[in-house]
Amino acid sequence: MSDEEDDLILDELNDEELVLQMYDDLYDGMADEIAEAVHILLKREWTPYDILTKALVEGMRIVGIDFRDGILFVPEVLLAAGAMKKGMVILKPLLIETGAPQLGKMVIGTVKGDIHDIGKNLVAMMMEGAGFEIIDLGINNPVEDYIEALKRENADILGMSALLTTTMPYMKIVIDTMKEQGIRDDYIVLVGGAPLNEEFGKAIGSDAYCRDAAVAVETAKAFMARKHNQA
């Protein structure tokens, strides 16, 4: 960032310039600036939903593209996610108040034996930003926890994440148990994590492998739309 940019007074920017600046600030992981910009847009009577989708989610989509293309790396994405989170903390209660559209409910967690939750947390945040209700089971989940939560929450989607080659086969155990219980087709099952690939996702019987958080959001939206069309 140049000195000139550092001196920017966000409140003096028009809406379009401010949103573009938010994309830059998200990209640079500038959490305080994001929080300030969110407050400014609220003051200008933007709806919380528009701020979330047009500024924060869109900004993170750009970050996601550059991560996919190898321009940004994990630390930068984490900083950007931290900035988005700061904006979402402000918006979340307002979104509940204003009744933002809900696209569906997702149970998500890392599989048994796996404590690596960075990817899972990014997906949860982006899904929440896109309008999904998230039931986050955290790390190291046995099959019973997933299934109990799916039933209890009457969820639409199961999201499973694994970072390790040694833990990713556990996803198949979860899906096979769902089949045994005759509930597999009641849910959309999405899987993700660094060592996974599309072939693995198909082989274990998931509905889709999602290579990153943005793909997870788009995939979930597409499956939910299909589900509604069938209903």
Binding site: V74, L79, D114, H116, I118, T165, M168, A194, P195, N197
Partner: protein, 189 residues
Amino acid sequence: MQTLIIACGALAREVLALIKLNSWQHIELICLPADLHLRPEKIPDAVEAAVEGARGKYERIFVAYADCGTGGLLAARCEKLGVEMISGPHCYSFFEGNAIFEARGEVTSFYLTDFLARQFEAFVWKPMGLDKHPELLELYFGNYEKLVYLAQTEDEGLTAAAKDAAAQLGIEFERRFTGYGDLETALKP
């Protein structure tokens, strides 16, 4: 005709030590950059290029990689290329012995080998951005409880470095001497 070992750069010292220890004069070694581990999806292509470059010049080509985060893709590529590789998920596992490592089932341990103890700053701390953003430490390591240093050699300097790394990460420290574990068995002619 010689045997060629195509190894991960993180195993260079260990493979050279085993060659010396066993007087394996028929073995040649080439190493691929250790930082491929930062983008494991690139490992199969890099291995294939090295194998194809060496075809016809050696009686046997051996790939000194385990799965290493490729999710089975490296094993599939090696099978296609007709070359052997090390079994197991990663070097932590085969140094300790794949069977022992699996039986331990440690979920909340972070592992260092001699290579990683020596290169902790370059291969862990800096690539994770912790040198510039220490506030990310909790996000990366918040779920870990212990750093386990799997030592291939008796080296007080490396033990001290591994202990420092554990302190830097704010987790407990344990050292286990493994020697070369399954690596030696895998490389044996």
